[in-house]
């Protein structure tokens, strides 16, 4: 058999919680890629955070050997993809490294929004799709209904779809046979100039950056000089090899059709952008592989250490995270309220949360973050234009000719019972209804156009709470539309707190202002003086609340036995105050800053 015919490159795509990672583990086990005793649940999700949240944040790949029932030997390259819209570009590059995709659908839940989004993405890359119905062991499993959904909604024949339970290990052998049968082997010219697609990279403190590639054409050996076609950076290859489940397996050559890694003493992941094409410096390919783009942040937020003296530690943490995450961008920012911090750009809200959580967890820093902002487009009266990602830089309204905000195309799949609730929510978020299609008799797919700034705060939570957790949601960027936006300022004790300002649609300013004022009132502790809370657009106050002055905070009795206990209480109070930030004359806790981000609760 020809070498290429023995290879199957595929990824697994699924809606969150449909069992993608468990299925990957089971495949690893069945192909004896890991000994059962080394089996750690969800092997491909390395980070604690990934396992806890049940999501895959980074792509990962593994080479497996499979002996088919007819005795032929095959090489499987399984590429695990991130399962969230924030990482859509990474997903698209992982897909581009494959010839096929295993589409996992939960037998009880059927097709969800991400199932569809991933399917469309895979079809865009001309991948052969192999539908698999998972969780057939569940009492609520409805295989026939799910098969019908796959056929009706996606248009894939599902009669022969393997029925599996990744959890119990049922149907895995059948699935492996099907992979050989359905997914095409790779094509490519080994004698053509090298073209290898970078689909991920990560920083290892011993080896430097390890680049994950799919070789499309040509071959690559240690000692050769490679060139990154987009960045132009060149490196000498130190090592190439295959990715095994628990180790690296160096080899002499990576050839077309294969998936593997490159080590070339690369210091910075920025030189190895996902989607870039690796070629040889002395015999470069004429054209890079299609589809490369520089990923740009979608959401910006100010990130500050709660303890102002920890600014250098925060910079250190961000730099370390950036080694592994080229999509994280940051630059120093200075707030009158919060001191020194960083304006950080993220791919989306999940990405933002993950970075923040990792900083707090892995670097032990307490953070205060400002309301996330999308990127607005502003045209000045003099005709010049620019993009604005920070409310602090909002121009004088008299200088604005027009403003535009980003909008997305959203798919929301929801049981018919909740359609009313969800439409109301979308309406409330300035959504424009486009279309509604039936997924099955009990569920519909609502198509909306929504402003991105309406979904970055708490849309997902609101969606879940208004559908009792049943709605699923996915979106993609659509572009910019003209919008009437204003900057809402919050004043405490008469002073603007810059870190609390944000940009909002003029129609929503009033309601949002009132809600924020209420939230702040709940979350600002009583202090020595009465504190007026005001929300203003320009010089016009549109909402007002008052935190009354502290009147009583005293221990009535304190005798012999109370002294130690009382002192401890006061020490605790002192510690609590230390975590406060003094803004003007007002002391604010981290909770106060965070509370304004969660208005829907």
């Amino acid at each position: 058999m020809d070498r290429l015919e023995q290879i199957r490159n595929f990824c697994i795509i699924a809606h969150i919680d449909h069992g993608k990672s468990t299925l990957a583990d089971r495949i690893l086990e069945s192909t004896k890629s890991v000994a059962k005793r080394d089996m750690e649940d969800q092997l491909l999700d390395n980070m604690d955070l990934e396992r806890e949240r049940g999501i895959t944040i980074k792509a990962r790949a593994v080479k497996l050997n499979y002996t088919a029932k007819d005795g032929s030997e095959y090489v499987f390259n399984l590429i695990d993809t991130p399962g969230h819209v924030d990482f859509n570009y990474e997903v698209s590059r992982s897909l581009a490294a494959c010839e096929g995709a295993v589409l996992v659908v939960d037998a009880a839940q059927g097709i969800e929004a991400q199932t569809l989004a991933n399917t469309y993405l895979a079809l865009n890359h001309d991948l052969e799709l192999l539908p698999v119905i998972n969780k057939i062991d569940l009492p609520s499993a409805n295989v026939d209904m799910v098969k019908k959904e796959i056929e009706d909604v996606i248009g894939l024949p599902a009669d022969d779809a393997p029925l599996v339970s990744a959890k119990l290990g049922i149907g895995i052998d059948d699935l492996l046979e099907k992979i050989v049968e359905v997914i095409p082997s790779p094509a490519g010219d080994e004698n053509a100039p090298l073209r290898a697609l970078i689909f991920d990279s990560y920083y290892d403190s011993y080896k430097g950056v390890i680049v994950y590639v799919r070789v499309k054409d040509g071959a690559l050996r240690p000692g050769q000089i490679i060139r990154m076609m987009a960045t132009g950076a060149e490196f000498e290859v130190v090592e190439v090899g295959f990715l095994r489940a628990t180790s690296f397996e160096p080899c002499d050559v990576l050839r077309c059709g294969e998936v593997g890694y490159i080590c070339a003493s690369i210091k910075n992941v920025r030189d190895t952008r996902v989607g870039d094409t690796v070629t040889l410096a002395d015999s470069p390919a004429a054209e890079p592989l299609p589809g490369y783009k520089k990923v740009l942040p979608m959401v910006y937020s100010g990130v500050y250490p709660t303890d102002t003296t920890k600014y250098p530690d925060l910079r250190d943490a961000l730099e370390k995270l950036q080694l592994n995450d080229a999509s994280l961008v940051f630059e120093p920012e200075n707030s009158a309220a919060l001191g020194f911090g960083f304006r950080c750009g993220f791919l989306g809200l999940l990405h933002m949360e993950i970075i923040q959580e990792r900083i707090e967890r892995e670097f032990g820093l307490d953070l205060i973050t400002t309301a996330p902002s999308v990127i607005y487009h502003i045209v000045r009266t003099d005709g010049s234009d620019y993009y604005l990602d920070n409310p602090m830089n909002f121009p004088n309204p008299s200088e604005i000719e027009l403003m535009e905000e980003p909008i997305v195309k959203a798919d929301i799949i929801v049981p018919t019972d909740y359609v009313g609730n969800i439409m109301e929510l979308c309406q409330d978020r300035r959504g424009v209804f486009r279309n509604m299609t039936y997924v099955d008799t009990g569920r519909v797919n609502l198509h909306y156009e929504l402003p991105l700034n309406e979904i970055i705060y708490d849309f997902f939570d609101a969606l879940k709470s208004r559908s009792r957790g049943y709605a699923s949601f996915d979106y993609e960027m659509l572009g910019y539309v003209k919008s009437d936006l204003v900057k809402l300022d919050i004043l405490l004790n008469g002073e603007i707190v810059d870190a609390l300002s944000f940009i909002v649609h003029a129609d929503k300013a009033y309601a949002r202002a009132r809600r924020i004022a209420e939230k702040l009132k709940e979350n600002i502790p009583r202090q020595l003086f009465e504190i007026p809370i005001q929300a203003a657009v320009g010089s016009k106050i549109i909402a007002r609340e008052t935190v009354k002055a502290l009147r009583k905070d005293v221990l009535a009795k304190c005798y012999g036995g109370d002294i130690t206990r009382k002192k401890k209480l006061l020490e605790k109070q002192k510690e609590g105050k230390k975590r406060m930030r003094t803004v003007g004359s007002v002391e604010l806790s981290q909770e106060a800053f965070m509370s304004v981000l969660r208005l829907d609760q």
Partner: protein, 377 residues
């Protein structure tokens, strides 16, 4: 000679009040005899360590010390006099609850050397007494008070409580005027505090508790009324006629040494704070069998002493004497706490006169908030 205070804890009550979080039992009268025996034994054990000290205050508190029968009371008083060197003019206080049959006990106390009585009245309103779970009436109090006077007690404290559920400005005014008409030498007035692990805590959401505003208005009423009648507020919750401040309690607030005996009693002695087992059964068992009875010991580091000193001194109207402070700790109060002093002088919560810094009424109302700022320097 160095001075010392002695505290004796009597953990028995006829009826335990639902707001009380002191160690006290209302169903363990069978243990009174053996508990008293333990106290006597402890007094004798600790007595040798107090050689060289002149005991100038003794305070028997509880619980309700007068729950003990006459024989046990005498035994205890005798042991105190035998074990410790009592100073001339010792202030010897015993707590008591108003009771129709208090007169006999008063005689025994008097004979045993007690010269100051602290009566737990709490309120002169029968409704409020009921809410507080008190088993005495205002009339019981008046007769107990008169009996005490008759017995020769010329130094009497009356405990009052404000922010009692259902209390009004008018009812507080009435309570105060009734108490003032009897001319006690000392009044303590405490804001009702809901402590964890009390029945009141469990009921806190259904109790008609006073809000902060009423609480502070009642407090101010108490201060104004008592001060108008010659009672000087010398501590957050304590008022006295000239020369009648509680010298024992001042020891606590002045960081002076004291030894507390009995279950749950705390001591501050030889640079250490320590406490005995709070549980009465364990305490009795340990004393009788010579086992360890100390439940906690803390060395007070010099820098922690500063915090304690400030915390306790700011409870007092006299506040902190700058010269005393600087001498005691070897650094300047005004330099070390310059930002805090500036902040609270400016806000009107702190004042300075005759070299002393003290909290104003507004400052006392939020003393925790202020003191916690002074714990760091």
């Amino acid at each position: 000679m160095k001075s010392l205070g002695i505290y004796i804890h009597i953990p028995f009550c006829e009826h335990k009040c639902p707001y009380c979080d002191f160690v006290s039992y209302d169903g363990k009268s069978a243990l009174m005899a053996s508990y008293t025996e333990c106290l006597v034994r402890q007094i004798m054990e600790y007595a040798p360590f107090t050689r060289g000290y002149s005991v100038n205050t003794v305070y028997i508190g509880g619980g309700t010390p007068t729950c003990l029968d006459g024989r046990l009371l005498s035994k205890l008083l005798t042991a105190i006099k035998k074990g410790f060197t009592l100073a001339d003019g010792v202030e010897f206080t015993c707590e008591a609850n108003p009771h129709s049959a208090l007169a006999d006990k008063l005689k025994i106390l008097r004979r045993g050397g007690v010269n100051r009585l602290s009566l737990g009245l709490q309120s002169a309103q029968s409704e409020e007494l009921k809410v507080l779970g008190r088993i005495h009436t205002y009339e019981d109090f008046v007769s107990s008070f008169k009996a005490a006077r008759q017995e020769g007690f010329d130094n009497i404290n009356v405990d009052l409580m404000f922010a009692v559920p259902g209390q009004t400005m008018a009812s507080m005014e009435d309570t105060l005027s009734k108490v003032i008409s009897l001319s006690p030498e000392h009044v303590s007035a405490y804001s009702l505090t809901i402590n964890e692990n009390t029945p009141y805590y469990a009921m806190r959401d259904t109790l008609p508790l006073s809000d902060e505003e009423l609480d502070r208005d009642l407090y101010k009423l108490t201060i104004d009324t008592l001060e108008a009648h010659g009672y000087e507020q010398y501590e957050i919750s304590n008022f006295a006629k000239p020369g009648r401040r509680s010298r024992h309690n001042l020891r606590y607030w002045n960081c002076e040494e004291y030894i507390g005996l009995g279950c749950s009693a705390h001591s501050y002695f030889s640079g250490k704070r320590f406490a005995f087992l709070p549980d009465i059964d364990k305490y009795i068992d340990a004393v009788k069998n010579g086992r360890a009875i100390v439940s906690e010991v803390m060395d007070i580091a010099p820098n922690e002493m500063v915090g304690e000193y400030i915390m306790l001194r700011f409870r007092l109207r006299d506040g902190i004497d700058v010269a005393d402070f600087d001498r005691l700790f070897g650094f300047s109060f005004e330099t070390a706490f310059a930002p805090q002093i500036e902040k609270y002088m400016k806000s009107g919560h702190l004042k300075k006169s005759c070299g002393r810094y003290s909290l104003t009424l507004e400052g006392m109302n939020i003393s925790n908030y202020i003191i916690s700022d002074f714990l760091e320097y």
